[in-house]
């Protein structure tokens, strides 16, 4: 079960081409005056693992539906290797899709399910059998060809769904929250499998999820969507370290956000901020252009302990909650009646543990205070 799929198994006996390059050019979906998707342009490279995350109603499902052909866009083009998909019905798009509930046909065996797209393409019996067999090998379900979906475990069904969506060499693989029905341990195992599967086939994958950890662990790049727009596109690291706005900062990972009441430049390209609670906090750099900004400090950048004389930023509060999980301590520290700070620390590097109700000092560098635009 834990053996990873290797590239050699996947490509054995076939000459695979790389996945398609996908370009969205001003793709829009309007229902009356309501924009489900504002004009959206983005480029996905050949062989890229591209994730789309966002809260429900953010437009990610619309973007997927438009790509698969279930939702006609109001405007724009979707170019797959230069060919515009708009107007082509779903069954002629040659796109593979893995659905949230897998949608394996319950009345067909595993082999019949995987063979279905080949049958629709009127592929010869011998070649179809050969491809089904090869795909079963890729997803390590060799002995399961004659089982029905109901006789398989969730993870096995997932692998059949992957095999079925990829057996006809689609130009693009879409995945709609494919792991959300699995329990946590299996989900992590399947993340590695899907990633290995994608690399083995060299396929371009667009992966929609609401789970930011899943997206971060699998993707080359992530698009974060909000309110029918792409809020930011970047690698998981870029998005976490340089969020473009408040939404991205708070959606990806945990963030301590301070409202800015006043601010003034300080010597050495720094900014001195007075927060809504009256704290005075130093940040490196200058405020972003545009209307308004917030100050963000990530939980793991804060140290907790005794007062430090030389620290750029220091707040005092009482521990209101501490959660210990897999080697990391998560503290919540009340620093003002209306504000709690999240703090995270590797358990091994802690000088000592703090109890609920204890008074502690929080310190962090000025370079760890990020100034982030509201919009």
């Amino acid at each position: 079960m834990n053996k990873e799929i290797t590239g050699r198994e996947a490509t054995a006996g076939s000459q695979r081409r790389r996945g398609a390059r996908v370009v969205y050019d001003g793709v829009t979906k309007q229902y009356g005056n309501l924009y489900a998707l504002h004009p959206t342009s983005l480029e996905i490279e050949s062989g890229e693992f591209f994730s789309i995350i966002g809260p429900s109603g953010s437009g990610k499902t619309t973007l997927l539906g438009v790509t698969a052909g279930f939702i006609p866009p109001t405007d724009g083009q979707i170019l797959v290797d230069g060919r515009d998909l708009v107007g082509i019905p779903p069954f002629q798009r040659n796109i593979g899709m893995v659905f949230q509930n897998y949608s394996l046909f319950p009345h067909m065996t595993v082999a019949q399910n995987i063979g279905f797209p080949l049958r629709m393409r009127k592929l010869g019996r011998a070649e179809a059998d050969e491809r089904i067999k090869r795909m079963l090998g890729v997803v390590r379900l060799g002995g399961m060809a004659d089982r029905y979906p109901a006789q398989l475990s969730g993870g096995q069904q997932q692998r059949v769904a992957l095999a079925r969506a990829a057996v006809y060499d689609p130009v693009l693989l879409l995945m709609d929250e494919p792991l959300s029905a699995l329990d946590k341990n299996l989900r992590e195992e399947m993340q590695r499998e899907i990633k290995a599967f994608q690399q083995a086939l060299g396929a371009t994958v667009i992966y929609v999820t609401h789970d930011q950890y899943e997206a971060s662990s699998m993707s080359h790049r992530i698009a974060i969507m909000n309110g029918g727009r792409v809020a930011q596109i970047g690698s998981p690291r870029e998005l976490y370290e340089n969020p473009r706005n408040r939404f991205v900062a708070s959606f990806l990972g945990e963030a301590n956000l301070f409202e800015v009441r006043r601010h003034e430049p300080a010597p050495g390209n720094r900014t001195l901020v007075e927060t809504g609670q009256g704290f005075r906090i130093q940040a490196a750099g200058s405020p972003p252009p545009g209307k308004g900004f917030v100050l963000c400090v990530r939980p793991e950048r804060i140290s907790v302990g005794e007062a430090k004389s030389g620290a750029a930023n220091q707040l005092t509060g009482t521990v209101s909650d501490v959660v210990y999980s897999s080697g990391t301590a998560h503290y919540r520290i009340r620093v003002a009646p209306d504000m709690e700070i999240n703090q995270k620390i590797q358990a091994g590097s802690m000088a000592r543990q703090f109890e609920i109700g204890e008074t502690v000092h929080l310190t962090w560098d000025e370079s760890d205070s990020q100034l982030i635009a509201e919009e």
């Binding site: 019905p89 069954f91 798009r93 593979g96 897998y102 394996l104 046909f105 319950p106 279905f116 029905y148």
Partner: protein
């Protein structure tokens, strides 16, 4: 053992109530059974003795045999038409994006809920214009109209028990609308279609009002034959014929129950599969 007296009494009361309710529902129907085995020449209860003579009489009666065949020849095509239209309606209203789905759904069920006498009068006046009142065509059309909602309801239920992503999956895999219906949708709803078809046939087989209006002696159905026998010829043959109708209806209902049990199992399997 171990139950408090109050609860035990309550359970006994519930059991007694259930038995009485069941008797109330089916007893009037089954009163006819002993009558059909009567040795008397008249319909009287209780029968003075037992005999199977009336079944023999029924078997040998040309009018009953012909009426029985008429009922089959009217019921089968009526059910077939109802299956086609009911399934198409269900597909359009459950899966399709049709404007005014709620209103159309009410309209689709209406023929079964509206008084059939009114439909019969309406059909009669229209069919009379085309000279079709006493033909198979008229009564088959009438039965098909009323039976279509029965198919619509069972097929809608079958469609609702499956997520529409199965069809979307079929489409992404290269199946056009017709192929995705034939290879994916239909195999998943076929038990619902079959159950609807049996209901439709069963309805037509028992129906009297439309048959009274739209058949004549050349096309008379079994229920209509019973009705006219009751008026002129009160022999226990009627009870024997009724018992045959009951037996056939029960058989059909049992078939539907078995089909539904199977389809529940399949849905459970498909659902559990996706969740596991």
């Amino acid at each position: 053992m171990g139950w408090p007296i109050a609860i035990r009494l309550w359970k006994i009361f519930l059991l007694a109530f259930t038995v009485l309710a069941c008797l109330y529902l089916v007893f009037p129907t089954f009163v006819i059974l002993p009558l059909s085995f009567s040795s008397s020449l008249y319909l009287s209860f209780p029968p003075p003795g037992w005999s199977t003579q009336w079944y023999v009489a029924l078997w040998n009666s040309p009018t009953y045999s012909v009426a029985f065949l008429h009922s089959i020849f009217i019921g089968l095509p009526a059910a077939a038409i109802a299956v086609v239209f009911g399934t198409m309606l269900a597909l359009a209203l459950v899966r399709g994006k049709v404007w005014g789905t709620r209103g159309l759904t009410a309209l689709a069920i209406a023929p079964f809920l509206l008084p059939q006498i009114i439909l019969a009068i309406g059909l009669y006046s229209i069919l009379a214009k085309f000279g079709l009142t006493a033909t198979y065509v008229g009564v088959i059309a009438g039965h098909a109209v009323v039976a279509t909602p029965l198919v619509f309801i069972t097929v809608s239920a079958a469609l609702r028990s499956y997520d529409s992503t199965f069809e979307m999956a079929a489409m992404t895999l290269g199946a056009n609308g017709w192929k995705s219906f034939w290879f994916v949708t239909f195999p998943m709803i076929r038990l619902g279609v079959l159950a609807g078809g049996i209901f439709a046939f069963s309805f037509s087989f028992d129906e009297i009002i439309i048959a009274l209006f739209l058949t004549n002696t050349q096309t008379t159905t079994l229920p209509k034959q019973l009705y006219s026998e009751l008026r002129y010829n009160m022999t226990p043959t009627i009870a024997a014929a009724s018992s045959v109708i009951i037996a056939i209806s029960l058989l059909l209902l049992t078939a539907v129950a078995l089909i539904e049990k199977r389809s529940r199992k399949r849905i459970a399997a498909a659902g559990a599969g996706a969740k596991a």
